[in-house]
């Protein structure tokens, strides 16, 4: 059997003394897409940072492709095929071309050229913007650069933090479309989002609330406005008390 792409086991973490995550567990199959939903402050970003090693797990286990990666630093995890797009996602002060080149890491020049042409095939808009500063682009194009930058690493596992942030609904639809394409290439993805539109491209979903997972399952189990409502507005969670 193929190993799981990602396995999070009982992870707790936080900053300094402030605990943000409590005993979080979930798994992602290879080639599947999972959306981590939750309101702001629910701990989505922290969870992603734990996965890529920017924040240390206080306890628990992080495994990628069957290997325990908890002790590796971020650079090593990235070289092991995990690409990460932070909420900012780009180096705004560097050109688009430089952003993409940085994404490719240590790849050879020929390799970089090849990957660039793949990325440019996917996002033809970026071709003519190669020399512009990434920060000067529109919000939608910036996300394009951010996603392309990750693709330049030829990732096996793609971790995206709020690809919809700062985008108008029109651009959100575009990004969803792009991720849909990536999914068809068989790239495993973990997407942290507030925006439920991303469920369209996902196989499964987790809902984080107050640093804990309170729903986890297939997207088909996750239908109906009520459940979502509860997840985001948290009315039910506390009324039982």
């Amino acid at each position: 059997m193929e190993p799981l792409a990602l396995e999070i086991n009982g992870v707790s973490s936080g900053y300094g003394r402030v605990q943000v995550l409590w005993d979080v567990s979930f798994t992602v199959n290879q080639g599947s897409v999972i959306v981590l939903l939750g309101a702001n402050g629910a701990g989505k970003t922290t969870l992603l940072k734990v996965i890529v090693g920017l924040v240390k797990a206080w306890s628990g286990e992080v495994k990628a492709f069957g290997e325990d990666i908890g002790r590796l630093n971020t650079a090593r995890r990235v070289r092991n095929g995990i690409a990460y797009m932070s909420e900012q996602g780009i180096f705004p002060g560097l050109s688009v071309r430089e952003n993409l080149a940085l994404g490719a890491g240590r790849a050879s020049k020929a390799e970089v050229r090849e990957r660039l042409s793949l990325v440019y095939d996917m996002f033809p808009e970026l071709v003519e913007r190669g020399k512009s500063l990434a920060g000067s682009l529109s919000g939608g194009q910036r996300k394009m650069v951010g996603i392309s930058k990750c693709l330049m690493a030829k990732p096996k596992l793609l971790i995206l933090d709020e690809p919809s942030s700062g985008l108008s609904p029109k651009f959100v639809a575009e990004v969803v479309e792009q991720l849909h394409t990536l999914r068809s290439f068989g790239i495993t993805m973990v997407i942290a989002e507030q925006n439920v539109s991303f469920l369209e491209t996902a196989d499964s979903a987790c809902v984080l609330e107050g640093g804990r997972i309170n729903f986890s399952g297939g997207v088909d189990e996750f239908e109906g406005d009520e459940a979502l409502h509860a997840a985001f507005f948290g009315l039910e969670g506390i009324q039982e008390v």
């Binding site: 003394r17 439920v196 406005d225 409502h229 985001f232 507005f233 009315l235 008390v241």
Partner: protein, 237 residues
Amino acid sequence: MADEILRLEGISKHFGGLHALQEVSFSVVGGEALGLVGPNGSGKTTLINVVCGLYTPNSGSIYLEGTKLGKMNPHRLARAGINRTFQVPQPFGSLTVRENIEIALSHRSGEGMSLDDILDFVNLGKWAGQEAGSLNAAQQKRLDLGRALALNPKVLFVDELGAGLNPVELAEVAVMLRSLLSGGRALVVVEHLMGFLDKLVDRVIVLNAGREIFHGALRSALDDDEVKRVFLGTVGA
């Protein structure tokens, strides 16, 4: 109708080209708790920072009990009766819990809770002699609250006191905050957890991108299409 404690009129704040707050107005009366809701970056904390003197607004005015506040240093506002807690707690880590509260107590010019009352109220009596830096996050947040209470504020901004608490603790905190409303104090509560707000406030203001998009009862906010769109994305839009 109870007396108006705090009124904001047309408050705007820009950071360079970023409009963090645009024409925000509201008021709270004594004994009332108002909820302040909105996604990250919607301007809630900026609003508190403006009212509590960390930022000067680019336009608009603030009235405390009917008197217009000019540009005032934060410590003057604190002494005048405006106070807050912090989203990320900011205790004086190398001072003891007791000293943390004493500092604020020494600047109060009127009646109010004693040191022991405050320690009891925020349930930190046992830790009074400990360095504040050694407390856990929830305790530090309560210490923030205790320090704010020491100055006997007329209006208190509570910034995400519920984050990271379990449902039982949340219910306790809600009861604790409700009890602060007696004596004509006003609360403005920033929170993501609607269930928590539901126990505490009647009225909410929803901010998005620095603008008020909804003002009214909490329950009707949850059915408002604009609010849903902001929180959930394209659903219902």
